[in-house]
Amino acid sequence: MQTIEELTEQLKLQIIECLHLEEVYEDLDVDMPLFGEETGLDSIDALEVVVLLEKNYGIKIEDAKVARKILYNVRTIAAHVEANRVK
């Protein structure tokens, strides 16, 4: 069984890979707002993460407003994944 910490770390790496951030950030702060001026990631990046969540965890998000709440930072994403994952 994966702990929430392990899941958070796993998600962080998957997000870095999905958004091609390997050469941009040495590390991603899991508490920092993921999308916005601080990271420079935008709504299209957010949608890529939505696809990632469905692909890797079977979680379907179809509402943009709902997506915004879940994708606040890596930690909130991990919490949602833990509660709703199908894979």
Binding site: H20, L21, L47, E48
Partner: protein
């Protein structure tokens, strides 16, 4: 039969070209030829890290990178940092990005689709990216008129300069290769089935041409500056000419409307594509009317694509600015020391879309 310029002046202030030859470096003008061992001639890109941060690069596909880099090169060449309007042209769009989306769509059975590929596959995605990159909130349009995409876009630029004389307009043309287009064109008889060396393209006796691609950015304005490469005096499109006579008469009319005869042309830039059938009329025009001029050919270096006339425009502009014709494109020389004041481009795309461009150094 359309007179395009209607008394509007149009100067090329700067250029940025990325092509299957090393053309992005303004220090050199085709000094050496890059040989491609492939049925498709693909672009030699600059080092993108010079133009983009890692953050920008991460989400840019191959075509967006080339277009944005060429734009930066173009603005630098013109010694400007902003433009007032942006107009782009493409025949088939960024095919690689669209293919990535369609691939995922079909492979995943229409689920789990990446939005970035969809966005970048839009035909006007480059026009939008350029606007964001250059913070240009002025007029922005995109022409996708197949073999006339570049010409109709240029027409729009000229109209814009007639409406806003002080504006600087960025005109960009791009097309890339794709395996799907290759498959279609082979079946349509547009590309050669046999393998040939592209450098011997014009010795070929068979129908069909070679697949190519390119990106060309120009800054155009109604005002001449010290950086100006040349003036676009006039241009014309001719759709499916009925026969050689019609093409020939149209060209005569085009020149005479500009108070010129064939003898006034110093450089004839011939858009033949190595297609022994479809090149006939261009070869005849050159032989019948422009035997006295230096002849330049280029599609052995670029291959054929819908916006290839943009490469010809760049070539003509550089020749007039630098007063030299690189060996790589020179098919028939003229005595050295002859001033190169007037260049005429005669291009055809698949024998369907013919266009003429008249360039002058003044």
């Amino acid at each position: 039969m359309l007179t395009t310029m209607a008394g509007i002046h149009c100067f090329i202030q700067g250029v940025g070209v990325i092509s299957p030859q090393k053309t992005y470096d303004h220090g050199e003008f085709l000094p050496a030829v890059t040989h491609h061992d492939s049925h498709a001639l693909t672009c030699i890109p600059p080092d993108f890290k010079q133009y983009f941060s890692p953050m920008q690069l991460r989400r840019l596909g191959r075509m967006p990178r080339m277009v944005l880099a060429a734009a930066a090169i173009c603005l630098d060449n013109a010694r400007v940092s902003t433009v007032d309007a942006i107009i782009t042209a493409t025949g088939y769009g960024a095919q690689e990005d669209m293919a990535k989306f369609l691939d995922e769509m079909l492979y995943q059975d229409e689920t789990l689709l990446p939005p970035t590929y969809f966005m970048q596959s839009g035909y006007n995605a480059m026009a939008g990216l350029l606007a964001m990159n250059l913070k240009c909130t002025g007029y922005n349009s995109n022409f996708v008129s197949r073999g006339f995409a570049f010409e109709t876009a240029l027409q729009d630029v000229v109209m814009h300069l007639g409406e806003k004389e002080t504006d600087r307009v960025l005109l960009g043309a791009f097309d890339d290769v794709s395996p799907q287009q290759y498959g279609e064109y082979i079946r349509m008889g547009y590309f050669k089935k046999e393998k040939i060396d592209h450098l011997s393209l014009f010795e070929s006796k068979t129908a069909g041409t070679l697949q190519g691609e390119g990106v060309a950015l120009f800054i155009l304005s109604a005002v001449k500056t010290p950086e100006s490469l040349c003036r676009i005096r006039d241009f014309r499109m001719l759709y499916r000419p009925a026969d050689y006579g019609a093409l020939s008469r149209e060209l005569n009319d085009f020149l005479s409307k500009n108070d010129l005869t064939p003898n006034d042309v110093d450089v004839f830039i011939n858009g033949i594509s190595g297609d022994a059938d479809r090149d006939q009329w261009n070869l005849s025009l050159r032989r019948d009317r422009f035997a006295h001029a230096a002849e330049v050919r280029f599609k052995h270096l670029t291959g054929e694509y819908a916006t290839a006339s943009s490469f010809a425009l760049w070539l003509g502009a550089e020749i007039l600015k630098k007063q030299t014709i690189p060996q790589a494109v020179l098919a028939t020389p003229i005595p050295t020391g002859c001033p190169l004041g007037t260049a005429l481009v005669c291009n055809h795309f698949l024998g369907r879309n013919y266009s003429f461009f008249l360039l002058t150094s003044r």
